[in-house]
Symmetry: C2
Subunit: 374 residues, 2 copies
């Protein structure tokens, strides 16, 4: 069981606090993406200094390498990766469908071959929960099937109902411990009736938090926002809501406005490895020749080490020379930008000026309406 | 002009202090290798925290990218790369012969094509000194030809005499400034008479320090040590001596014992990117399967962040998963190991126990006698 306190509201937007055994998480929150037990190109103390309080790690990656039993023998994920704060693990359901080879989906679970070495594995709700237990995850996610997009309404319904049966098995397999919790995942695609059915099924089982899954898979910004808007009222107000795999700044602002509390996405870290930097005046690609002699900081409004101590000209040089310090500094900046964005949204909710803050933020940094990529 | 004080001696080993405008350097010292204006995979504050006081940057790399005039317009190398301490730049002579295409060597200098984009360039003593001036180097190296190995004695003699004429032109081109200095480079291969002639020529010109060049190019440990032993007495005792491109720990210990004050080598940083770690009990390759569940630190005797906060098992995982944090942590450890080694040598000289310290250090960490690679 984990705690969740609602501290303030502004319209549908919520300012809250998750309380876990290993620390608190101020919401709305954006998780650090620590896929394979490391935030790529960052030290964990830098991740924390940027403002992140909750780390996301991936069951699929870690079960294959270094292996869940091995992590358990070494004392769990926190000590292994030097992150003393809380960790949320996904269930493996998403990556097994996007990365693994020779998948075979049955009522029991998913049999597949590792994309690394071809070894055969099986993920079931029970095994996914066991792996997350071995990793010593603080927030465990129920095992589900992320429905493909596009799909017929019947396909979406069958997939969602399978996920709901798996949610029941996940709940039964999960061992309650103080300060640790289990989240269920609402599926149903862009079909409201299916989302209603899915939310009701999860609430009947009972979870510590509720994720909205199956979005940011190609449906586009408008359909994503409409689905969040109609799904959010179905979820218990006193529990945190997590929008999985989202997104770009405009996606996050829109979802916070609709009452979402928790986010994760590879965009800030992946962008840092492809010379993309988020700034308060919109995204830039530092590889662009116009930055070659620009003595100014990446983002004059940012206080991160990359902006305090280096010029755009130097970052441009690092990227052109393919120096590792380039991704290191750009990732740190992007992670800081996202955490600053979340802190700004939290403050605006408390002060009852969310709408004005969101409008000003998006007008300046570019309120793009293209779909988020997961 | 730069200062150099001899603080203590133990046999031929010397404990000294270089005083430059931007700081002091305790010798014997191992420089940080900041080739293209960055120590690969490290932040400059981490380099400093590891104990390094002097940064080496490469004229050849920087003249091609981002360009010396560009660095000058941006205010010089120190601000550009966020390294406020002193910087030594090489002359470009070594890399132009090892990396550039279509080289043409004349009395005037070396014409060549960039290995990056094929553009045509010319390095002369005057241009090399000008580039180092534009970079705002604190220790400028005279432009020389690093004689190939093996070569006939006549080839070595002709190459050395060309380098001595270039040394004269380098001295004439160098603009004296307080706190900045110019080093000459002794050539002559493994031929003592040529080393004598070269040292005398440089001393007649007069330099702030004297480098021993043309070693660690394949001649082997014994011949390298013999050449250092016979060359060192030729150099002015009151000026620092720099052994270029050396080396592995046994090479450095042997050279310090013979009176060398300054070193640089890519080994600690390059090793950090290929899973090699130096430890007080000898080098290891962390990719080796025997480390997969090893909960201990890389080197129990090391206080660097990589050793304090992570296990060998985690570092093994990072390397196997090709995560950037692997090179980051291993490089930091290796740079710290080298700086700790130098601190140990300095303390042993002051306390008059160099021979015993060196023997114990090499017995434990492995006194390999294979030649160092540059």
């Amino acid at each position: 069981m984990i705690g969740f306190d609602l501290l303030a509201r502004d319209g549908r937007a919520r300012r809250g606090r998750m309380t876990l055994g290993r620390g608190t998480v101020e919401t709305p929150a954006f998780m650090a993406t620590g896929t394979a037990a490391t935030v790529k190109a960052m030290r964990p103390e830098e991740v924390r200094a940027a403002g992140a309080e909750l780390m996301l790690c991936n069951t699929y990656h870690l079960m294959l390498r270094p292996g869940a039993e091995r992590v358990a023998r070494l004392g769990g994920l926190h000590g292994f990766m030097n992150w003393p704060g809380p960790i949320l693990t996904d269930s493996g359901g998403f990556q097994v469908m996007s990365l693994a080879a020779l998948r075979k989906l049955t009522e029991e679970g998913v049999a597949f071959q590792s994309h690394l070495d071809g070894t055969r594995h099986m993920l079931t709700p029970e095994r996914s929960i066991e792996i997350q237990h071995l990793l010593d995850s603080d927030v465990t996610m129920a095992f589900d099937e992320c429905t493909k997009y596009p799909a017929s309404e019947q396909e979406v319904a069958e997939s969602m109902r399978l996920s709901m049966r798996w949610a029941r098995r996940s709940r039964d397999a999960f061992r309650e411990r103080p300060g640790k919790g289990l989240f269920g995942i609402v599926q149903g695609g862009v079909h409201h009736a299916l989302r209603v059915e899915s939310a009701a099924a999860l609430i009947a089982i009972g979870f510590d938090g509720y994720a909205i899954g199956g979005l940011a898979v190609g449906e586009g910004f408008d359909l994503m926002v409409a689905t969040i808007a109609s799904t959010e009222p179905l979820l218990p107000a006193e529990r945190p809501r997590y929008l999985m795999g989202v997104g770009k700044p405009p996606d996050i602002v829109a979802a916070v406005e609709l009452g979402v509390d928790l986010f994760d996405c590879v965009i800030p870290t992946r962008s840092g490895r492809t010379a993309q930097a988020f700034t308060r005046d919109g995204p830039i690609n530092i590889r662009n020749a116009r930055f070659a002699e620009d003595p100014g900081p990446l983002d004059p409004g940012c206080a991160c080490p990359a902006c305090r101590s280096y010029s755009r000209a130097y970052l441009h040089h690092l990227v052109k020379a393919e120096e590792i310090l380039g991704p290191m500094l750009l990732t740190q900046h992007n992670v800081t930008f996202y955490q600053d964005m979340m802190a700004g949204l939290r403050a605006a909710i408390v002060e009852g000026r969310f709408a004005a803050h969101a409008a000003a933020f998006l007008a300046r940094c570019g309120g793009a309406t293209e779909p988020a990529s997961a």
